[in-house]
Amino acid sequence: MKGIPLGSRKLVGLACVGLLGAGLAGLAWASDHQQSRLTELQPRMDITDMYVFPGTGGTDAARTTLVMNTSSPIVPAQNAGAQFDPNLLYQFKIDNSGDGIEDLVIHVTFDSTSQNNRVINVRGPVAPPARMDPIGTPAAQGGTATVLLRNAAVSLIGGAVNTNLSVTTPSGPMQVFAGLRDDPFFVDLEQFFRILPDRKPVTGPLAALPETQNATAFRGFAPPFDQTRGAPVDILTVLRANTLAIVIEVPTALLAPGTNKKIGVWGTISR
């Protein structure tokens, strides 16, 4: 790394056991874990990773799997209370024309009649709904403000979380799962924050890492080690971190119906 002088602060030791015992707020970061003050304090608004790969376990390009992971890290002791937020709109957005504007959206919301009875509602993929500006004037489709899809050709309303669900589409079945899974992401988290300390969280044990850079390279490898496995692991594995995942597998023809088969995918959370 060039251009950043090595910080003079003494390294704050963060042993694995210490991390586990010090609480979770502000602990984890991965590809997008707790990347802002808002998502650090409101983890249910935090998309931690997005994945897009061929369906049927990566073997069939005629189907496409979309994954949105949220709320990580959820340690096993928190499993029982982990739930999606029924006041949020989770969206998969698909650009199939190359302009960075969503041509299709999948709306995912959650509803509950009690704390332990979560259900998932999925609408789409379909063109984003026309939205209104704050004074009720029709505005552009898509964008960062939206209303819920009401007449999507493909809808799955009222499915149970933590269950493999399926809905019929003209191009074949669409599969849906929403619920708790192992967080698959991996990274040497603590060292990253020593290298780029301005990215570290403001709460939790990792906030105690130095404010100035005090490392210029990753470790090789790299505690923490999971002694029970006898292999190097990252902090998400040490924590046995789970994530609230939304996994949707659709016929690819629904995402790229035209001649252009190149798609761009991103996820959003709105409130």
Partner: protein, 208 residues
């Protein structure tokens, strides 16, 4: 709560009791304003979530496409701006900031920095769905125009990104080998995803 009700917030203490029609749960929100000394208590019925959601406007607060774009390449103060943006304006908003990080902090050439920014922006995971499934892999379309691309669960996003920004993946000059990989094995030694839907491994269960 409607805008009209919000307009009633001229109170030193305003307690709104929200009662769920379904569960009879009660939630109380208290607003405090030191300058006005009246008190008002209002009660509304909380509609069921589906119907409530159908009649509201949702505003974006979080966004993610490619992994690590904001976390590594943008300063923390810019993350919130990125979260509420759209891919359509990413190049205008973030190319300069990413190039600044890569040329300044990482010490790479302007050409390398621009190439990386153009690859990652607009910030979307790109998949060429007409290509063979076995060519899927994060950012491999940079090197193989006939690859599927996308991002698989097993892809080492840290090493791929760090290899481009700090390593010799794109540019042999001024590399920082110690930053080109974090040396963490796939899945960090943790559970491996399954072959059947929904693919992600079962959640880690509480220890008995």
């Amino acid at each position: 709560m409607t805008a009209g009700r919000l307009g009633l917030l001229g109170a030193s203490v305003l307690a709104i009791a929200l009662t769920s029609a379904c569960t009879n749960e009660r939630e109380t929100i208290t607003f405090v304003n030191d300058t006005i000394r009246t008190t008002r208590v209002d009660t509304v019925i909380r509609r069921d979530t589906i119907r409530f959601n159908e009649f509201r406007t949702f505003n974006q607060v979080e966004r993610l496409g490619n992994p690590l774009v904001a976390e590594v390449l943008l300063e923390f103060k810019d993350h919130g701006f990125h979260d509420v943006g759209t891919p359509a304006t990413d190049r205008a908003n973030f190319t300069g900031r990413i190039v600044k990080f890569i040329t300044g902090t990482a010490g790479r050439s302007q050409a390398t920095a621009t190439a990386i920014a153009n690859t990652l922006l607009p910030d979307m995971i790109t998949a060429q769905t007409d290509k063979a499934a076995n060519t899927a892999g994060y950012l491999n379309i940079v090197f193989n125009a006939n690859a599927y691309g996308g991002r698989r669960l097993q892809d080492d996003a840290v090493d791929i990104s760090a290899g481009a920004v700090f390593g010799t993946l794109l540019d042999p000059n001024n590399a920082s080998p110690g930053l080109a990989t974090d040396n963490v094995p796939a899945f960090g030694g943790g559970p491996v995803p399954g072959s059947g839907f929904p693919y992600l491994a079962n959640p880690n269960a509480p220890t008995p």
